[in-house]
Structure formats: C-alpha cells, structure tokens
Symmetry: C3
C-alpha cells in the first residue's frame, strides 16, 4: 500500500508490509535524525503545523523531522481565537490553509475534527493527536523502537510476550499500539491495570480475533514475569473527569520490581512524559542507567519514523538514499549522559 | 515604479503598471506556489513576522510565500508583553529588530503604528493589516484573483460592472479594493449595503473623480443583476462597538439568489472568513461546487501575489525565471475536493 | 579553549583568547549578519529554541543568527503548560527534546533550571537568560560592540575608563559585563548608581583582585567625566519586589549631560530596552543622531556574535570563510534613518 498523497489519520490504515517498508526507510534516515548526515530532498516544500491544542513534544518532533528532510515549517497554535471565532467552518479553514502548504500536521482536542478537516482537502493531513482518539505517529514510533530493541537481542515481535501496564482505559497510545501489534503473529498480550482502568473490550477482541493470546490482571507482579516488553503508561488524569484514585504503589515500575520480575533482555518502554514527582507511582528514575530502559531510545525514534512517514506521504522515499551527504558539524557521541551504559554494549 | 527597498504600507502606493508587473511575476510564481516548482532565490534571507495582533491566515500565508522563495521566517506575537511594557518606544523596537532581519511583515491593531514602525527603519516593512486601516496584500491578491477570473472568460477589469456587497463601512478589504479598482478604466461600481453600513464618501468620491460610475443601493436584488463580479463581505462585528443589527436575509448570497440575479460568468468573491453558522446571512456554502464561486482560487492567489511582492521588495524579481526547477514531491491535482468542477472546464 | 560541543551557560566560561577568537569570527560573519553575504554551513542542522519565559528580542536574534548560518529553528514558549504540568522532571524534558535538535537555546525564569537542563544532555545548551542569573550572549555582544567602538578611535579595552550607570544591583547584563571586562588589563571601573542599587560586592572584589581600579559614586556628574565608555541601564523594576523609588533626574543620560561630562569619543551603550516614556530617567532619545550613541550598533552586534558562538559550539568555525557567497537581494545602506551621521564618518 503506497502512502503517497494519503491522509494519516489512524493506526488502522497500516498493514504489515507498509509498516516494514516505513521502518526500513526510518533505518536509512537514522543518521539524518542524529545529525550525522544531511538530506535536502524536500527543499522548497512547506509544512503547516496546526495545533488547536498545545503539545510541545509532538510539535517540536514533527518540526525537526520535516526540517531535516530539507523542508520549512510554519505553525499556528492560535486558530481558535481568530477565524473560527468569526464563524468559519472547519471545512473552510482546512481548504484555505491547504492553499498555503504541501502537507499539514494537526492536533485537535475534538476527536472528529481531524476527519472533518481532512475531508475538505487533498493536501495530506497527518493526525498529531485527536483528543481521546488516536495518535498514529506515536504508535508508529513505539512499534519501530520496539522492533529495533528486539532486533538487538535477536528477538522478533512475532511470538513475543508483551505486558501493557497502567491506565489501559484512557491511554490512546496504548490503544493504537495494540492495533499495530495485532498485525504481527502469535503474541501474548498481558494487560496489567487497576480493575477500574481496563483495556477496552473491542481492542481485546481485535487482538483475540487476529490469533493472539490475551491475558488480564491487576497485579504487576503476576503480569510481568517472562515479558519481553514492559510498556508502562502514565495515569491520564487530564483525559477523564470522574475522579479515579491514582495507582497503588504496585504500579511503580522500578529497580526493585525489575529485580524480582524482569529478565536480562526485558525492554522497558513508556510513551512519556512520566510523572517523576515524589509519590507518583509511575516508571521510576532509578532505572535511568539500566540499559533495559528504552524510553529515550524510544522517543529518539520519533524523528526517523516521522521523517520516513513525511517522505512517504510526499512521495520522495525513493530519492532519499542518493540524496544523503555527511553533516559537517560536531555531534556528541551519546545524546544523554545516561545513555553510555547501553551504547557501550550495543553500539549505535 | 520600482518596489525594491520600499515599505508596502497602503494600496495608495500602487499605480497600474506596477500592479501589472507584479501580476506577471505572480503568474510566473504560480507553479512554485502550488508546489510544482522550486526557487531558492532568497536562500539566506530572513523575514521577521511581527504580529502585535493575531491573524493566523495572513501570517501563515506570508510565511509560506517567503519560505517558497527560499527564505527563513522568525516570528513573534508577543511583543506587547515584553519590551513595550518596559517603556520602549515603537521606534526603538523597530530599529532593534531591523538589525535582525532583511524584511519585516507586521500587523498591529492601531492604525498609526505601522507608519511609526516603518519610519524608524530602512529595512522594508510590509503592512499585514493595521487595525481599521489597510491590508494592502489582501487587496493585491483580490485584484490579482479577479484579473485571472476575468481573463479566463475573456473579460478585462476595464469596463466591468462590480458589485460590492455587505458591510461596506467597516470592511477595510473592500476599501483597499476600491482604491485599486479605481486605477482601471470605465468601471461601474455598485455599492450594495444596509443603509447604516455605507461605503465611506471619500472612496465614492475617489472612484467618481477617476471617471467611474458609482451606484448605491440597499437591495442585493436590485444591485446584483448584470454584475461581472459580486464581492461579498462579512459583518465586521469585531471592528465596531456600536451595536448594529446583523444583515437581513436579503444579504445572504446563495444559489437561490444567484439563480435569480447571476449570469453564467458572474465571479463570486469574498475576503474570508465567511460566517457559516446557522442563520448567518453571509455567502452560503450551497455554492461550494458552483464553478463561479472563486473564493478558494482567490485565497490561493495570496501565495503567488505575496511571493511576487516580497521578491520585488527584495529586488530579486529578475532572478526568478532562471532559478526555477521542478519540485520532486507529489502534489494532488486539485487542492480541494470541490475544486474539480471548475478545473474540468478551465484547466489550472 | 575550544567551544565545540560545550554548553554556554555563564560568562565565567570565557578566557581572553577565546573571546578574541570569537570576535574575529564575528568580524568575518558581519557581512552575513547584514544580509550582504550568505553562508549555508549549518544547512540541515536544527536548533531548538525553548523559552520558558518570554523574551522577544533574544529569541528573534538567536533565530536570525542560526538561520543565517543555514540552519532551521523550531521553538516553543509553552512547555510550562504541557509536559511539566504532568509531573515531568526538567531532566526528562531536556533528554527528550535533545533527541530532536542539534543545539538548544533556552531561557528560564528560575536561575538553576538551565544548569539542571544542561546536565541532562550532551547536546549543546546556550543560556538565553536565566532569571536574575546570567545572559552570557548579551555580555558577549556588549563586549564585542565595545571592542569595535574603541577600535574605530584607536583605543583598546585595556587601560580604558568605564562608567557603569544606573541600577547596578539587579542588572544581570552589567554583572556579566564586569566579569568579561575583568579579563582585560588595567581598567578603571566606575560604578555610578543610587546608594540603594550598588554593584554587588563580589563583583567589585573580582575586578579588584584582577588588578583593576574600582570607584563608586552615586553622582553621574562626578563619575562620568573622562569615561571612555558610559554603559547605562534601565531600572529593572520587574526583577525586584521591594518598592524602590525610580532614579532621580540626575540619572537621565541626555545631550545636556554629555555636553557637560562627555568627550568627543565617549561611547554610550545600553542593553535595551530603554524606557522612553515621559518622565523616565533613562537614556534619552535626544542623543539619537549623536554618533557617540552606540546602542543600535550594539544591538546589531548580537547577530554576528551569536552566529560566531553557534558556529563555534557546532564546530564549523573553520568552514565559514570558504563558504561565503554574495547575497543577491537588495539591502539598504544603513539600517536606521538616524544611522547616517555615524557611518558618514566611520564607514561600515
């Protein structure tokens, strides 16, 4: 399935061959993402970055990805206070700004808005998060990061045991991830959440229908042993109005828990941000120098994955390889001071 | 008249040969505006985009135009909350930021501010809207779009019958347009507005003095028949404090009205945004697939016209033709799904 | 001392040979800063501009400097309202965004934040102002501008008599400047401030320890005679809570005062913004056409100095000379209408 000229609105759009082609392209683009190589394949193209709801990291990551392809970015976070308050329909707004840009990334707090917006334009629209709905580029980067982590230790996603931990009811990241994981074969998906915050039934059904084993538990100590991946999430307090007690201490994923239930190659992921305040029962900072903690390699993956996606949607993926040239500026060996223990063992 | 190095503050600055040269350059730049060709003639130049008042579409359109010429854009919407609150004069602010940029686009809610700002710098300043004053780049794009629409059906602006409809008192767009239209010959300008919202007398005088026929009516059904252009506007509720009743239903320009008073080649324009809320008596969405509705071709014209203006002010207009190269990314055939009926008949 | 790959957090980091190398590079980059030449030595690199506190001019100046080196800039002023409110540590934020960018400029209202941020990343972090702390790029541009002003009249910084005037207690600019000036030899530093707003004792000690003469007075008429530099500052009302009466009229530096105490080559500087409201006892606008008023040449210096700093930190300083090409767009002879009297005598 070619992505050229397509809107990217949902993780449902992808099939496995498309994912694999995208990830190969992301591999090719990693040196560009790391500032070691340069490509200018989109020089002259302009992306509109329209955030109807604030999201610093998604916005900055998309900016960087498009700029590293050679393109320029113009962005707005202020639509609400201008045209739309004058009675303009979202369809009109979409058609108007589509005349400015070659591609649009948008985030909107209302789930339907991105579909309405995309229906009014033939310029490709990439969903940067639509309320409680989807965040497909996050799901893609998660899966890409996972495939690379597994690849390093000789595993594949097929056949893996995957533990999803935390607020599985509200976390849209984890919902999109289940959809993408379901495209693979023979997984065991262990849903570990407080009883009040379970994975939605339709996603459990989807996974089961595609032939995966699904298990549910409210106990991390029972769900985590044997997991190849532990994917933890933050309590999405801003996404639901009904007061829910925060996780119990059991949901704190830290060095002590991993010593008990982790294996030598267990991969620890988290969509970030994680709550590092005292008393937060989230992923602990005491794992920061543990090479199994893949969270920063995971977020770093956003750049090559979004580059690959933009290049594919713009139809220039075939021009990348020949366009690469070495960067001439200095780059540090590792991005973060805590990254060294991992890279000493595994290489870049 | 050369525009090189000039401030662009008012529609009054233009004469007809300058407009015609600008529009020829805009024609040359259309494939760049549409993402079909690339030029990098301003590579290395930096535009400052200073919006002391929010205006998403003007800002994004200027961004895109300058970026498509190869330049970079840095923008601010937050001046009010920093230096100026510390007692800095607008003249100092202007002189300081002029040291950063090669050209400045600014919008300011106070009519005099852009003149004060421009007086303190030799770096070209382009007025992106000064309160109730002018919005010259909007006027230029309107006129350019109109000349292209007329050109397609073998008409010229000279000799045309032009109906201006709606709030003619507060609409700065329509004021600037009258000034530019007056540079042409032998027009009939029909001002169609509620009695309380008439075209200002000095503009009627200007048009009459330049030899045009001017008519006034408060009835669309009387004013529109025979018009080559119907230019509708939105009630500028945010520009006046005195409460004015919204337009009556008569001012709703829709398929029914056009069936009664329109001709086969009547061009329908609107500066946008239009009010599409239920009960709004603005330009109706039921015309969206009517090829006579030129509003999106009109807004699309903003990119080539602003490119032509920036290139002229920066003095690089003579370098454009030889600088063009084909873009390598995919572009949709039409920007909007509703654009097809028009382009099937008229071509791009 | 090489700056390649280094964080730039404090004026304390610099020694005199490093300053001199930086200023030579700034001299080489002046034609690029002025839009007369183009370099693309950082084409493909992306800077993150993270302003946790608003600062229009620092942000725009850094944007322009990085863009004029060929790089792209993505910026955010909205961190406070997204990740950090979800409990993310500054260390996590730093590590995450470091995966997007090749260099980061940040401003933060809390003095320690920039150190915390920098400690969590190997990507170079440039301090764009940390609360009441430091603003090293401002100090560098001040010193560079001063060395050029002195150079024009055949003076050196070594041996000069320097009067610092105004609120010397809260002005972080003037604190950083004292640190840098102390790297030179044999200065007389005259601190002229109201008795309640003195230069901090540790800075007076530093200057004395490095062999400079230090004088203190609360009377501009006593402190200014014989000064080679008069560096005036604005009352930093936003930096201190305790109510302090504004300066007395004596602290108004204007044509009358200079006629009494100034010499023919006295250089007048000010970090800007200056308070030009009626009754403000700041640097007066009646000096605007006095060639000794160096404030706009001073602010203009920010572009070449920040370019030189970014190029050095990115390790591309050796590639600049061969990369320069002439710009093809029009530039005004002088940036400001009042600049002519100076440039007629001194050349660009």
């Amino acid at each position: 399935m070619s992505l050229t000229g397509k809107h990217i609105l949902s993780s449902d759009q992808f099939d496995r061959p498309t994912l694999e082609r995208l990830f190969e392209l992301a591999d090719l683009l990693r040196p560009v993402a790391r500032g070691e190589q340069v490509t200018r394949v989109l020089e002259g193209a302009v992306m509109g970055s329209l955030f109807f709801e604030a999201s610093t990291r998604t916005r900055l990551s998309c900016d960087s990805a498009f700029m590293r392809l050679g393109g320029s970015v113009s962005h707005s976070t202020g639509f609400a206070i201008t045209s739309i308050s004058k009675g303009e329909s979202l369809a009109d707004t979409s058609r108007v700004v589509s005349g400015y840009f070659d591609i649009i990334v948008m985030r909107h707090p209302e789930e339907q808005a991105v579909y309405e917006f995309a229906a009014a334009t033939n310029i490709p629209v990439v969903n940067g998060g639509n309320g409680a709905g989807e965040h497909p580029t996050q799901a893609l980067l998660d899966l890409y990061a996972l495939s690379r982590e597994f690849g390093r230790v000789g595993r594949t996603i097929d056949g893996a045991r995957v533990a999803l931990v935390g607020d599985l009811k509200h976390g849209r990241t984890v919902h999109s991830l289940v959809k993408l994981l379901s495209l693979y074969r023979d997984l065991t998906i262990v849903c570990v959440s407080p009883a009040e915050l379970p994975m939605p039934g339709e996603l459990l059904d989807l996974a089961a229908r595609r032939g995966h084993r699904v298990e549910q538990t409210d106990s991390p100590k029972q769900g985590l042993p044997g997991a190849d991946l532990v994917y933890t999430t933050r309590l999405q307090t801003e996404r639901f109005a009904d007061s829910v007690a925060p996780y119990s201490e059991e949901f704190r994923v830290d060095a002590a828990l991993l010593a008990e239930v982790g294996g030598p190659d267990t991969v620890i992921m988290h969509p970030l941000p994680r709550d590092s305040r005292p008393g937060a029962n989230d992923l602990s900072t005491d794992l920061n120098r543990d090479p199994r903690l893949a969270i920063f390699r995971q977020t770093d993956s956003g750049i090559p994955v979004r580059m690959a996606l933009f290049a594919s949607v713009m139809g220039v993926e075939g021009l990348i390889a020949e366009s690469l040239r070495p960067a001439t500026w200095h780059r540090p060996e590792y991005i973060g001071p805590d990254d060294a223990p991992f890279y000493r063992n595994h290489g870049a």
